[in-house]
């Protein structure tokens, strides 16, 4: 229904993106709410780095309070698309975004919109844990402080709540101020980064391969966490781990590289369907490990 037919010059070699099939799913079977409002929307989005088109003609909706996974081979533009939702592409010299990106129906790239405002509503967790070289407490309090929260009691409160949400509180509560964020293990650092993002009270959380540097136990903790967070937040997660996508997400978007070396969205569907009965042969090959 929202295939970017008119927008793109579809070449013969490229498979036409499959229409979204959400409407055809039976809600009672999937547990998905078909009437949930759209939180994030990309419409005919193409992103270039300098002259090189990294991804083209991406159209997708992320409904509120759901988890969407981005999967696909390396270099197909998953991170690039993810970053356009909180305008982190602005930081890369030469990066240019075309098309329309919406948050709650409003154009994220409108001239009147400040990137700072977008990023306060849309948090980003990076692939590599990157805590600040400060105490655990200061790491989590960083966002709230910058946004004007000075009250000690309230900061204490935010720090504790965020660390609890990120399932880190019990491990660090005794040396919040003594220990540097950098002295934690990789998995703890990543949860600290998630807590740091939660503390700024975003509406959307973007995660770019949050578990790629973590062991299975830490990964499990983060996956559980995502399951809990989606009650309050809208989440988009990039992952190379099929099982992870299957476990944590409600919907999955599969991207791949076209013949022109630009990435594009092949298929977006309910996760169950992507992994059991995808509409596109490329998707099937990829999820069953027959890719490349």
């Amino acid at each position: 229904m929202n295939t970017p037919q008119g927008a793109s010059t579809v070449t013969a070699t490229r498979p036409t993106p499959t229409p979204l099939a959400i409407a055809s799913l039976q809600p009672e079977l999937t547990g998905l709410d078909p009437d949930a409002p759209v939180k994030l929307r990309a419409q005919d989005v193409s992103i270039r780095y300098g002259d090189r088109v990294a991804v083209r003609d991406v159209t997708l909706d992320v409904p509120e309070h759901s988890v969407m996974a981005f999967i696909g081979p390396s270099g197909c533009g998953k991170s690039t698309v993810l970053r356009c939702f909180d305008r982190m592409n602005d930081l890369i010299p030469g990066a240019a975004v075309e098309g329309r990106v919406e948050l709650d129906g409003e154009d994220v790239y409108a001239p009147s919109v400040l990137p700072v405002e977008v990023r306060r509503k849309v948090g980003l967790v990076f692939q590599r844990p990157n805590p600040f070289p400060m105490s655990i407490y200061e790491n989590v309090a960083f966002g709230p402080r910058r946004h004007g929260e000075q009250g000690k009691a309230r900061l204490d409160d935010v720090v504790e709540r965020s660390l609890r949400q990120a399932a880190l509180w019990d491990e660090v509560k005794d040396d919040l101020r003594k220990k540097s964020g950098l002295s934690l293990s990789g998995g703890q650092q990543q949860r600290l980064c998630i807590a740091r993002t939660l503390a700024t009270d975003p509406e959307v959380i973007l995660m770019d391969e949050p578990c790629s540097a973590l062991d299975p136990i830490a990964t499990l903790k983060i996956e559980e966490l995502i399951g809990q967070l989606k009650v309050d937040y809208t989440i988009v997660i990039v992952t190379h781990n099929m099982q992870q996508a299957a476990r944590v997400s409600d919907r999955t978007a599969f991207f791949t590289l076209g013949e022109d070396r630009a990435g594009y969205l092949v298929e977006l569907d309910e996760t169950l369907r992507i992994f059991t009965n995808p509409a596109n042969q490329l998707t099937e090959d990829y999820v069953s490990g027959r890719f490349g």
Partner: protein
């Protein structure tokens, strides 16, 4: 076996020349520097006197080095106070704010700055700065223009590239991750600089400032040309003062006897000052060399 070791020994020999140079330098400067006390019998405490009356023909000969030490410190500190905001600002600009084209101008410009010899700065101070102060700020007490402030301004310009390039390195060494992390939390660029980049680079910036101070304390000719060379305790930015380096430069060729020995003692004091700075820089850098 012995033959295999020859290259090692030869290269080691070359490296040892540096140690030999230091040992000789320390030996000569310390030896000549203590003559004032050992040979001429001037009490060590006398160098802390504020009176400099080295002429053996006049009465009340006193070798007080306090005016020179105080002058050196005063000129150095004001130079750093003027130079630091500019240099750190410029370094921040190049590391955090500048678009590529601006960086492409600023970086070679810094190299040109470093390359300008100190006598040229001195000459510039003498022909432009000193008359300028005299003509336009005479009402503030710059009677001749030769002044503490003139010395500090010339030095500020000279240490600017030193502080800039070392703090630039410190800013660039802060991982890009840190900035993106801050920005992704919805902070402005300035908040990221102020609360992430600056704290993370603080030691590096401190080191840069100490390097600048070191250079300021040791610079001789440029300062000597504009400072007025009055052996008094500095009290006013508008008045002539002097420094250890200036006095050595001026008197060395003429002074004889005890007067000459006092100049060597000034050299020894300068050596001790730079030694202190080296130790300070080492202490600042201790965290990094361990990591």
């Amino acid at each position: 076996m012995a033959r295999l070791d020859a290259p090692r020994r030869i290269t080691l020999g070359a490296a040892l020349v540096v140690i030999a140079a230091v040992v000789l330098l320390l030996g000569f400067i310390v030896w000549r520097g203590v003559q004032l006390f050992v040979v001429s019998g001037v009490p060590v405490t006398q160098i802390l006197s504020p009176t400099w009356q080295p002429d053996p023909l006049s009465e009340g000969t006193t070798y007080g080095l306090l005016p020179f030490i105080a002058g050196t410190l005063a000129v150095m500190v004001v130079a750093a106070v003027v130079s630091t905001p500019l240099s750190v600002g410029l370094a921040l600009f190049m590391a955090e704010v500048a678009p590529t084209w601006a960086r492409r101008i600023a970086q070679p410009a810094m190299e040109v700055f470093v390359g300008i010899p100190s006598v040229v700065y001195g000459w510039l101070g003498l022909t432009i700065l000193v008359p300028f102060l005299r003509v336009h700020f005479g009402w503030l007490g710059f009677a001749t223009g030769f002044s503490w402030l003139a010395g500090s301004l010339v030095l500020a310009l000279m240490i600017l590239p030193t502080i800039t390039s070392i703090s630039y390195d410190a800013f660039v060494a802060v991982p890009a991750d840190m900035r993106s992390a801050s920005l992704a939390l919805g902070t402005t660029r300035w908040q990221a600089i102020r609360h992430v980049v600056l704290p993370a680079a603080a030691t590096g910036v401190a080191t840069a400032i100490v390097f600048g101070l070191t250079r300021a304390a040791g610079e001789a000719l440029a300062v000597q040309m504009v400072i007025g060379n009055a052996p008094v305790i500095p009290t006013s930015l508008a008045r002539p003062v002097t420094t250890l380096t200036s006095q050595i430069t001026l008197d060395m060729s003429d002074a004889t006897g005890t007067w000459n020995e006092a100049l060597w003692t000034m050299g020894l004091v300068l050596l001790l000052i730079s030694l202190a700075f080296v130790l300070l820089i080492r202490w600042l850098g201790r965290g990094r060399s361990q990591a």
